[in-house]
Amino acid sequence: MDIKRVALIGNPNSGKTTLFNALTGSTQQTGNWPGVTVEKKSGKLLKYQDIEVIDLPGTYSLGEYSEDELVAKRFLLYDRPEAVIDVIDSSNLKRNLYLTMLLLEMGENVILSVNMLDAARSRNAEVDVVKLSTLLNVPAVPTIAVKGKGIAELAEQTRNHMDRKCQSFRIDYGNEIEHHLCKFERLICQNELQLDDLEPRFLAIKMLENNHSILHRLREIGLTTEQEEDLEKDRAHIEGIFKEDIESVMIEKRYGFIEGIVKQVVNKTQGMDKEVGINRKINVSDAIDAVVLHRVLALPIFLLIMFLMFQITFTVGGLFTNLFELTLGKLSSVVSALVAQPLLNSFLVEGVLGGVGSILVFIPNIFLLFFVLSILEDSGYMARGAYLMDGFMRKIGLQGKSFIPMVTGFGCSVPAVMATRTLESKADRMITMMVLPFMSCGARLPVYVLFASIFFPNQEALVVISLYVIGIVVAVLMAKIFRLTIFRGKNTPFVMELPPYRIPTLRGVMIHMWDRGGEFLKKAGTLIFAVVILIWVLSNLPYGVAYASQDSYIGRIGQALSVLFRPLGFGTWEATTALIFGIVAKEVVVAALGTVYASQGTLTEAIGLLWTPLSAYSFMLMTLLYTPCIATLAAIRKETKSIWWMFFSMGYTFAVAWLFSFVFYQIGSRLSFWLGLLG
């Protein structure tokens, strides 16, 4: 069977994800676009299994502004799908049609999905879909993706138009420009400067716009320097007339054309001040913004929402976690009872259940956090968060959108690393990813609680808070340093849409939650599992030693590395081994300490006896800042597409942690020595 491909494209927030899921059901596959970290999703049309739908990233244009845009553009230009479904938000027709213009100009076989008709209607605007279809000379299907309306029709139309040859479509750019376009079209035809099956007119437009990649390709097939000089002259001529650079002129002309279309297809029923053109009727979205983005109220509301997010994640998540742990405990005892062979028993109980289990217990937390994040995202609040935080984030060399991953980092660094995908600029994204792990994730809390309760019984909360704050400060500091060194360059512009608020649907939220959380599950099953097994093996070799004892390989490694930590106040093999285990997952540190101190009474007693408040705090600092867990490292590797960045992250966080603990412990011990002398 010949598989045909249709690309799904549209502005962000046009309902593309919802539509994609409605069109393809659960048959999707995810992967990455070659060379970039943008996620690629594809699936078959439910009714027509011979048509593959490829979900392109949400984009406003087809330039080279962000990785998302590039991916979309490259796919259309080089992979030439048979058809393109263009999702447009009919409550915001003008801006959405801009992308449509670009697609039509490219000569794509476009099928319009005129989405969100309900939203348009509630704004008192009726869109004449038939007329739109006639004017643009493309099939157009009215849809309401959330309610599943128009989906079948859209699939039907897509199939029917799969083989349609591109219709001719042209925007009239006015005599001045048309004259030149005509000339170049002729030049292209006469010299057979044919690129794939791209229309001569499209090429002519791109030539005039001085599009470097197209010009480069044309040069390769015979565009001469003379012709280019000619082109240069023509461009200068037009720019002289319009007193504007050519690209801007073209954008304006396109919008002018769109304006004409919108006038013909949108019937404003009432409440619209035509003269002024701004919808004067206070709509719900603006009313919400009046409160949520209020100068004084905005920040308290924002903090409250963040607080609630964590509250929900960790209280509700906690219930699940307990359930998980109980189940795991039960399972362990069942396995212990069933499996007599000691090695196999240890493998199953300590290795598999203990190791992987320790990560799995966090899954409820992670999924819940994603659930709440998806609600915030689908409702439109997320963009407001970025808007509110931009001022602060810019001061530390980042931008508003970095805030979301940073906050997510308090829950778990893995989804946080994945959440950096929304950042357009590579530098912003890298910096965010590199400093994220300093945000104290939920897994580190048990370590603080253990030590704080032993050494600072009355100031537990204070100690824990101090660590969170130090984490934030270090993240801010490192972000600034990165911005000034490795990832130099100007702040990227911040031009962001504030989408209208929408009531999120359970379906949509589940889809988004799964998009994010599924990754983590997969990872727990593969890489993390492998490392867990490795550590288990090291803990049990040479054959016959007690699990993770001083004589086991892991104990010996701990012993050898413990020198490193001597200046930090905890240079024992026990502490070192616990930290090594902590790389599997931070909360394992506590369990590991339990194991290594097993011969010295209860954990609390042993620690109370062998540690000092100073070394304890130093150790907590280390736990807070040192090398992220393998799940996070794996995420960094995946998102940066580079094992080197992963190693960098491993190494530099360790160095930072060591330095902080070192300075703290050395100053602390001097101080207490002198204070001791003073009595």
């Binding site: 330039g63 701004i278 983005l293 100068r295 509110l388 931009d390 001022g391 031009v495 209208p500």
Partner: protein
Amino acid sequence: MHRLSSANQDYLETIFLLSQEIMEEVRPTDIANRLNVSKASVNQAIKALKAAGFVNNERYGPVVLTEKGRFEARRIHFLHHLIKAFMMSTLNIREEIAEKEACQIEHVIGNQTVKAIVNFMRNNNIKVHHFDLDEVHQFLFYSKRLSELKVGDQGVVKMVDAKGDLKKRIMEMGVIKGDIIEVIGVAPMGDPISLRIGDYNLSLRLAEADYVWVEVL
């Protein structure tokens, strides 16, 4: 937006004129000499201008107009000559008086009046020395950057003065000549701002909003 006192507007204009005349760096001493005031008051004015973002000045260094400063200075300068020419030509007022009073009026005159004067002079073919009235007209009524509008203000987009990718981005997001923009909010830290254009809301940093010139409605 920060509003300058008339005295500081005068300083700004002086710096502008000096920078055009002497073709080299303007120093506080030059300004003091020109206006016949003490260096201390000049320094004070420079401090205020600097705080409002109109000039850059390192200690003991030259005074350099920022782009915003140059714009504001040019605006005041235009107004001065416009008012003076109007008074002399249509009201038959003597030059010394016109000169002196234009100096005062330029600081308080509103957009509507200026518009009326410009239209009147254009219709009656009255020339302003050194200036092309069409240019003045253009200039005065492109007269605000989006970043200078207050919440609730509306303006018609006149041009996007950025370059390259940024310009393209701003325009592709729908900020197009002739569109009406309303400033609907400012983030708690004063930046970015949120805008309404047609059917949707957009947020821009002040740095980007600086590039968008609007005619205030």
